[in-house]
Subunit: 415 residues, 4 copies
Amino acid sequence: MFEKVLKDPVHDEILFDDPLLWKLVNTSAVQRLRRIRQLGTSYMTYHGAEHTRFAHSLGAYETMRRVLIHLERECGWPNEHRHRQLALAAALLHDLGHGPFSHTFESILGVHHELWTHRIMLEDEQLRTVLDSVDSMFAKDLVSILKKDGRFPAIEALVSSQLDVDRMDYMLRDALSTGVSYGQFELARLIRSLTVRDDHVYVKRQSLHTVEQYLLARYFMYVQVYLHPVTVGSDVLVENILRRARDLVSEGISIEIPGALLAVLNGKDVSVDTYLQLDESVLLYAFHQWSRSDDTILADLADRFLTRRLFAPIVRDEPSVSEWASLRTMAKAMGFPPDYYVTERVSTIPGYEVLGQGLTLLDDFDGYSDLSQVSKLIRTLVPSQEHRLFLPKEMLESDNESLSKRVHSIVFLRP
Amino acid sequence: MFEKVLKDPVHDEILFDDPLLWKLVNTSAVQRLRRIRQLGTSYMTYHGAEHTRFAHSLGAYETMRRVLIHLERECGWPNEHRHRQLALAAALLHDLGHGPFSHTFESILGVHHELWTHRIMLEDEQLRTVLDSVDSMFAKDLVSILKKDGRFPAIEALVSSQLDVDRMDYMLRDALSTGVSYGQFELARLIRSLTVRDDHVYVKRQSLHTVEQYLLARYFMYVQVYLHPVTVGSDVLVENILRRARDLVSEGISIEIPGALLAVLNGKDVSVDTYLQLDESVLLYAFHQWSRSDDTILADLADRFLTRRLFAPIVRDEPSVSEWASLRTMAKAMGFPPDYYVTERVSTIPGYEVLGQGLTLLDDFDGYSDLSQVSKLIRTLVPSQEHRLFLPKEMLESDNESLSKRVHSIVFLRP
Amino acid sequence: MFEKVLKDPVHDEILFDDPLLWKLVNTSAVQRLRRIRQLGTSYMTYHGAEHTRFAHSLGAYETMRRVLIHLERECGWPNEHRHRQLALAAALLHDLGHGPFSHTFESILGVHHELWTHRIMLEDEQLRTVLDSVDSMFAKDLVSILKKDGRFPAIEALVSSQLDVDRMDYMLRDALSTGVSYGQFELARLIRSLTVRDDHVYVKRQSLHTVEQYLLARYFMYVQVYLHPVTVGSDVLVENILRRARDLVSEGISIEIPGALLAVLNGKDVSVDTYLQLDESVLLYAFHQWSRSDDTILADLADRFLTRRLFAPIVRDEPSVSEWASLRTMAKAMGFPPDYYVTERVSTIPGYEVLGQGLTLLDDFDGYSDLSQVSKLIRTLVPSQEHRLFLPKEMLESDNESLSKRVHSIVFLRP
Amino acid sequence: MFEKVLKDPVHDEILFDDPLLWKLVNTSAVQRLRRIRQLGTSYMTYHGAEHTRFAHSLGAYETMRRVLIHLERECGWPNEHRHRQLALAAALLHDLGHGPFSHTFESILGVHHELWTHRIMLEDEQLRTVLDSVDSMFAKDLVSILKKDGRFPAIEALVSSQLDVDRMDYMLRDALSTGVSYGQFELARLIRSLTVRDDHVYVKRQSLHTVEQYLLARYFMYVQVYLHPVTVGSDVLVENILRRARDLVSEGISIEIPGALLAVLNGKDVSVDTYLQLDESVLLYAFHQWSRSDDTILADLADRFLTRRLFAPIVRDEPSVSEWASLRTMAKAMGFPPDYYVTERVSTIPGYEVLGQGLTLLDDFDGYSDLSQVSKLIRTLVPSQEHRLFLPKEMLESDNESLSKRVHSIVFLRP
């Protein structure tokens, strides 16, 4: 009997009973996720948020394992070993392509982590060897699932949809690590609410409120944790650091920089091997180097991150063109080049999406309905946006009081 | 009213109501602790153990804050603002001097982190400015407390003894992050069990079992978490990597290495500024560099750490001289230079210490007794040792079966 | 220093530091609440729901204690010892008047438990002696607070409003005992969101989402726990038992019955002393007696409760007059006198109420707004109703299949 | 697919997947356990301890279910449906025979609850019908298991030994309800530590510390909860009430008393039907009746229990004959007939028992050892005794100070 048990703060135990999955855990592509935090810069706001994408990947795997046990009892699905392995492997590997401070990194580099996930699955030699040990189509089928090609609809939905093992794990894990209760929901009952018919996933009508609780927990995590102004400000700072570094590089100014990071900043033809060398230790080390750079902007920005002197977030309407111009002028006057020190950011709180992705309830009489038809609460969950400005605290609290006053008068809607 | 509240997974909320303490949190010396894990390499065993010394320092501070509230109600201690600030600052700053993978680092460098804590308190300019804002003796008094000079006996005991805010926080935090229940105890009741007389801390006799539970929780954390063979094996690996790097450096062989790390490996006259540049991102980055080094030993060891191919731990008696010699010979024959690949390690599970450090119970009739006089359970808590050998898994599972067999016959006591 | 500490599964510790409050706890009127469950018959659905109104009263007291500590720090309120005692005593004593299976009892007797609370406060000799030890107006002021006369607006709101210590405690306690996560919310942060101005309670604007979470938790507790069809069916059964007993008594038919219960069923001029003799042990004992009664209806109904053969709940629209008539005819034909065996019940899920009771948010610029103006989620929380029919399972699963089929065809909207 | 899921505060969900077990839950013999608290009078000390033997029985069943899933994976045991049903039914039904305030009741009546469990299993018609539906030997085999006849050694050990599903559930449940952490241990890991060979249960050697934690948790629950002096004092009070009632009955003095209780107090030839009518509502109702009795002793004692005016516990050595005589004389002088008001009680904290019941560790080399050979901690767990005196608080705090002083001088070892 093969059995590996990992202790986990969310699920108590994570059980591996298939050697294939355990071999996947021990690839370097998966182990690298130990060096990438699940919540990016959130640890600057919630000091507990140090949990990694590795832990989350294990948790998504374990959640899938429990979902499959339920579905096998409930409706005999999946009825086949390879299918089971596909579902488990997809859950374990879905986050492979994340880079350091992931979403920030993507926005600078203009490449989605999903594409890297697919490339790593297909091109990383060690990983590929393990996957090919099942059969030569296994890796491609996994990519197909992550791409949601429609060939494995139930697995696709369980791996990525509005009710997937990814979210089920991360909400509980993020809530535990940050210490908030906002992300909690009834996991076992939610799993039990699922059913599969004709290879599609449905939610039982009688579990309506369990799903409502889960979707509202997600809403609360967005407004209280994921889009916390201080976190978004930390993201902005990382982004501005990377942008400054890239600008210097592209201007031909030499800076100390880890090789893999340079390759990525230069932006073309990065190999999977190079990409996999990137993690948050590399980025933080670059910040260390840069904090002693000759470029005062780069040095100052990097030092701000390392010593947590973050930008001040100001929640307000979109600034007008003239407000924006004034603010940039003020920043320049106070010694803060506005391209790197004054940033606007619009954050979107996602809603419940009906089109093409709705959750379908199945009642006792074989009736189908979209969750939003039945739940008034869920219908309020429409996407909404928060406009925020970020700028150095020094601009608001300058020794030169009259300057600060003018900044205040521009950015704050009320005095 | 000054009030800063941080959300915490252990204590729910951490409250700052004194601007001095909040300023200390925001020094770069304290913020640096965000980049040093509380449990060193334990995350290689327990994937949740990513929590930082920063989080722990906040938790030790919060525990002290609650202890002081209790003691003020209980016996009017401390009755003075500066005294209170000393206690809180000592709790917050007690871990300042930790380096990356702390205990391993110390054993390589031969310098205790405590000494660095003292130096940072006295020499770091930014921190010193905040401390001096109280008065010019404040920093020195803090060092005196950490040194346990005996000038502030109650604070010294609360900061560092067998029943201190350091352990109270870390046991709960380590238990939560790893997901084990072993470290749990009745925090609020334990705090309530404390009393102060003539500036010394005592435990109320009626709280005997509460203290027993706390000390046994510590025992369980040692045997199940802190000295877990896989974790000790990870420490050994880090140590061997650093030793190899130092050997190369001292032999004059040039390797890529972050400057601050080089300074420390060279070992003399490291400044506080240089030391503070060291954290786990720097060390991990060095491992990245070294994994591509021309020195095959360094490259292999570093790669093992990054991809979690750890040494196999073997729990057994101390090997005899001849066993030891045979094992080294075998290692060499199999291509593993024994100085870096075969390591013995003795781990000590600490016991309850009576001499000079015992916990004194105070009964309702003003009678004093040492905890160990009253508790049979506590008397069993004497230090004990675990001998372990660490070597590459390949030596035990070689393709050359006869070689592996011989290794087995040397290291395992029974076939 | 006066200090009594009780261990509590919700708040960890409940602290008494004022001898007055401790004396109140030890009156027999408060101790009686140990024999009345907080959630009535919910334990028939959730086997953990055995927690008592005594535990909840302690919890409401403790919550008030923490609210007052916050408000004293936040805005210096309350600034006076008697005021503090009023708030704490009101929280502790607010549930004094509950009878066994409280809401059921009320609906049979037509007397609100609030009136009994007031009477007990004023008329119970032992309790009155303790209250009068403050001053002769103390008891009357407490009643005034519970009646919400408007003389102590802040205390009144903290004791009874949409955001009061009563709900804060019971939601957490009910969630813990039943084992559901639906009722959880951020207690410490919610307390911190409160502020008092001109003796009125406000919620800080920045705590919007914390209050949303709390109000949604309440919604989920209603739909998942408080109005669970099986629980409502248990209530209906208790009510029908009591109604049958009262009918027999009023028809002059003698049954075994505890004296205090007989007095209450007879309905007039019940003294406080008599009322206080009633608790759930008395009611359950009456059910024991009645289960052996000569009256077959009473005997059968009581036995159903004791052995948990509850009515089947059917969730459906309001039945038409003819459906209703058919159903009663069927019941009679099957041997179940419909007055006691077929019951309709409309349950109301409460919403957020604006008129006269809204929660007022206070922003940083002294702006006021009702919570519902700001939160779309909260605006969906309007009262809604669930119609349900309750009848013996035997009617649906009769040995006479054709009879059962006809019952099915009447009560189920779809075949 | 048969599936019933109950929500549980300890195990989250309790799953029934075999209709037989669900039918057993719904017998009146099992439902009666809803009216008997798991911890007897502990709720007088820990107000949360209202959980019932019904909840515990479900939890013991669920724990057994998980143990069997593990053992089936681990070593293919049990390999047969009837065997599985025996194990589950034995876990569910093991507490059937408990009476109200169980241990107190037993000591008054001189009949062990185990005997009643056996009788109910064999004689209760409804229960027997369900059990006989498996086969005519099923009920007898269950009794054989509970008697530990040795015919089903593994099941017997899992149901009743030093490491059984009974204790696993009750320790966690008692800890949760009372709000203490003392009873917590690693349930999933403990289950995983079990293995079966030749129909005997063993504990894997590598799980040593997990078992240590579990046994120490039990020790802490005894000293902190089960033998809490206030709880023992409440037991003494119940016992003295029942003794007084029995004495009156045996002297032919008529008192109001529920019929089933009278039958049991009279003591002979009580039928199973009569016994099953007894529960805590009946006993509490009797206390209500007795609190208004003409017998002033009975009335006073019963009223003390209902209003929680418990005896004061005094922890001290065994009193000498002369101390004892003086104390009884004093009690009489102060109006408290000593037979009912002054009680000595010796409570035994159980230890780890080796003889005939030891837990056997099984190492990787098929070596067996008793747990106590390997663990120093466990060897300290030898039975120990606590002597306590119980008497009315009024004797210690009399208005007549000189009387109180004399009582003090007798009972307290130090002034």
